[in-house]
């Protein structure tokens, strides 16, 4: 079984037709229903739903509080490598991005120093990232990094190139809790047009990767489409469908969704389908109503004020004080190439203040070493 089969039943034309056909009363009916169908999702993604953002927001807030309480999980990304062999036209790490700043893999000692800096801020949940670099940053290197990070944090996830099931299993055995892997776009034609080199050109291998991670034992699976590559309504629909598929296929894993919006790209690439704030909010609300139990991650890609407004609309996890360059917290603070520019530059303490001001409790720890039998603690 693969998500590809389900995706096959939902070609772009079918979704477009449903969105086109949706009337205001279909949006109202979708909001009122307790369990929502893919057709309801199309209605909520339609232009008519822009007039219904307030009732959708109220329902999104209700559902999120019901499932997650008034809490926001805190996490931080750690870029351990910015070496990249892929050529993704929108990305600052791409081999032909024209960026000339320094590329490197952090050494074990440097990873330790980065972890110590974040642990001192209170973090207990981190996401380790690399570029697409199977040779330069091999699985053995990532596994070592996971083991090091686990010395500092109970909860460690990765966002790296797609792996085989056995490779994910190896990382889980080192204490990995979660895997984040964005499909970028579910549209095969657009996908091929923006991914020009390396393993990432293999659409099918990437599409199935997150399910392999679930089968290998990853407890948290995070998905997302890079918003701006194609019509957000279509990729948003496919992302939500993927989430629902994973909840069935990997029933022991918690599925979460991110909504990374392209705002800054290298000079050679201009964003073809810029997504406005109101459209991003509509997408998040529609997906929340379709997937009430999915976690929503919100990164520092978005600006501070906008992030604060999004807190009650379905967000369950937030990063703060992030750096997107290897060594950005302690070892190479300004000298390495960053993946993208951070918008919300507030330190964690300020973000925590903003979360509290919205009536939510920041949660630093939500996993324990005792879950993992290999843990020495």
């Amino acid at each position: 079984m693969s998500f590809l089969e389900e995706l096959g039943a939902w070609p772009r034309a079918r979704i477009e037709a449903l969105i086109e056909r949706a009337r205001p009363e279909d949006v109202a009916a979708a909001i009122a229903r307790e369990q929502r169908t893919p057709e309801d999702l199309c209605a909520m993604l339609s232009p008519h739903a822009q007039a219904c953002l307030e009732p959708m927001a109220a329902e999104a807030r209700r559902l999120t509080r019901w499932h997650f309480g008034r809490t926001i999980g805190m996490y931080a990304p750690i870029y351990i490598s910015n070496v990249c062999g892929a050529d993704c036209v929108y990305c600052g790490y791409a081999v032909r991005s024209g960026n000339r700043e320094r590329r490197l893999n952090l050494s074990a000692a440097e990873i330790r120093a980065e972890c110590a800096a974040l642990a001192a801020e209170g973090y207990q949940n981190v996401l380790l990232l690399t570029g697409e670099a199977r040779r330069a940053a091999p699985v053995s290197y990532i596994a070592e990094a996971v083991a090091i990070a686990r010395e500092f944090f109970p909860s460690v996830s990765v966002e790296v190139y797609s792996l085989d099931e056995d490779e994910y299993r190896l990382l889980c055995q080192r204490g990995l809790e979660g895997v984040t892997l964005y499909m970028e776009t579910y549209d095969p034609t657009v996908y091929q047009a923006v991914h020009l080199k390396g393993q990432k050109t293999d659409y099918r291998y990437r599409l199935d990767a997150i399910e392999r991670a679930g089968r290998a034992g990853a407890r948290r699976l995070s998905i997302g489409a890079l918003l701006g590559l194609t019509d957000w309504r279509i990729d948003g629909f496919w992302t939500a469908l993927h989430g629902r598929y994973l909840q069935r296929a990997c029933w022991q894993s918690a599925v979460s969704v991110s909504f990374p919006r392209l705002l800054h790209t290298p000079a050679r690439f201009s964003i073809p389908h810029l997504v406005t704030d109101a459209e991003l909010v509509q997408l998040m609300l529609a997906v929340r109503l379709f997937l009430p139990e999915a976690g929503f991650n919100l990164s520092t890609r978005e600006r501070a004020e906008f992030r604060d407004h999004l807190i009650p609309l379905g967000v369950t996890m937030m990063s703060a004080g992030s750096s997107t360059r290897p060594g950005g917290y302690a070892t190479h603070v300004d000298e390495t190439l960053e993946q993208f520019a951070i918008e919300d530059r507030r330190p964690p303490a300020k973000v925590v203040e903003a979360i509290r001001a919205q009536g939510y409790e920041p949660v630093w720890k939500d996993f324990d070493y005792a879950f993992d039998e290999t843990s020495s603690r």
Partner: protein, 261 residues
């Protein structure tokens, strides 16, 4: 009349209302709840609690070891081994050897796994723990857990966090009727009337979390649940009349038989 006290594993418990600590918007909100309802048994997810820094922990820092029995729970454990490791970790950190078993392998509805729960109960009882397992409202499982040495059974009224009340009413009634250990109705109680109904049917205690964490006024809702729990218990002890589906005619239908003479 002798004092009506709940006793679990030989320990006399002050309140029949147990409180869960997840989902609260702040430590202050949790504290207000605990102060208002005076619950003794307070359950804390080990995955969230930082036992190494209890004074900095948003939940642990609110608990008072003289007033509260901190009942650690194994929420998030997917199998018996994980649950047993979590329980041992809590004991090693100096908590009482009590554990609320939550074996919830799927993260969406957090429904309990009966097979792993029974296995973990057997393992933990052998290790000397007082075990309070969270279960489906399954009467046979409840009896098997009792035989395995569970100190209570904690069947659900409805899916956790759903506020749907006693959706498992018929099965809960059988569990209560058959139990020789205290029965704590756990999960799904969204309104004080649900707590009262649980107690009226003979449950020994109830556990509430989401309904308190979600309330506009946390303290007032905690107080309302405490009163409802007490009222339900009092009604149970007083002996409720049987429920009837039709009214009894005030002029008896067979009265004519006596009217003749």
């Amino acid at each position: 009349m002798t004092e009506d006290r709940l006793v679990i594993a030989g320990r006399s418990i002050r309140s029949r209302l147990f409180v869960g600590t997840g989902k609260f918007p702040s430590s202050a909100a949790l504290k207000a709840c605990l102060d208002a309802c005076d619950a003794e048994i307070v359950t804390v997810a080990l995955r969230r609690a930082d036992l190494s820094k209890p004074d900095d922990d948003s939940i642990l820092s609110v608990l008072n070891r003289d007033r509260h029995l901190l009942l650690p729970n194994t929420s998030g454990a997917r199998n018996a081994d994980e649950a047993v490791r979590l329980a041992k970790l809590a004991r090693a950190a100096g908590l009482e050897p009590w554990v609320k078993l939550e074996l919830t392998p799927e993260p969406r509805y957090l429904l309990p796994d009966p097979i792993e729960t029974l296995k973990a109960t057997e393992m933990l009882v052998k290790e000397g723990f007082t075990v309070l397992p969270y279960i489906q409202a399954d009467p046979i499982l409840a009896k098997k857990l009792e035989e395995a040495g569970a100190a209570t059974v904690m069947p659900l009224g409805a899916p956790i966090g759903s506020n749907r009340g006693l959706r498992t009413y018929d099965m809960l009634r059988i569990i209560i009727e058959q139990a020789s250990v205290p029965v704590v109705v756990d999960a799904g109680l969204g309104a004080p009337s649900h707590a009262a109904a649980s107690m009226e049917m003979g449950a020994d205690a109830v556990l509430v979390n989401t309904a308190l964490a979600d309330a506009r006024d946390h303290a007032a809702m905690a107080r309302a649940f405490a009163l409802a729990t007490e009222a339900g218990r009092a009604a149970y002890l007083a002996g409720l009349g049987p429920e009837r589906s039709v009214a009894e005619a005030s002029s008896p239908l067979t009265g004519f038989l006596r009217d003749k003479d």
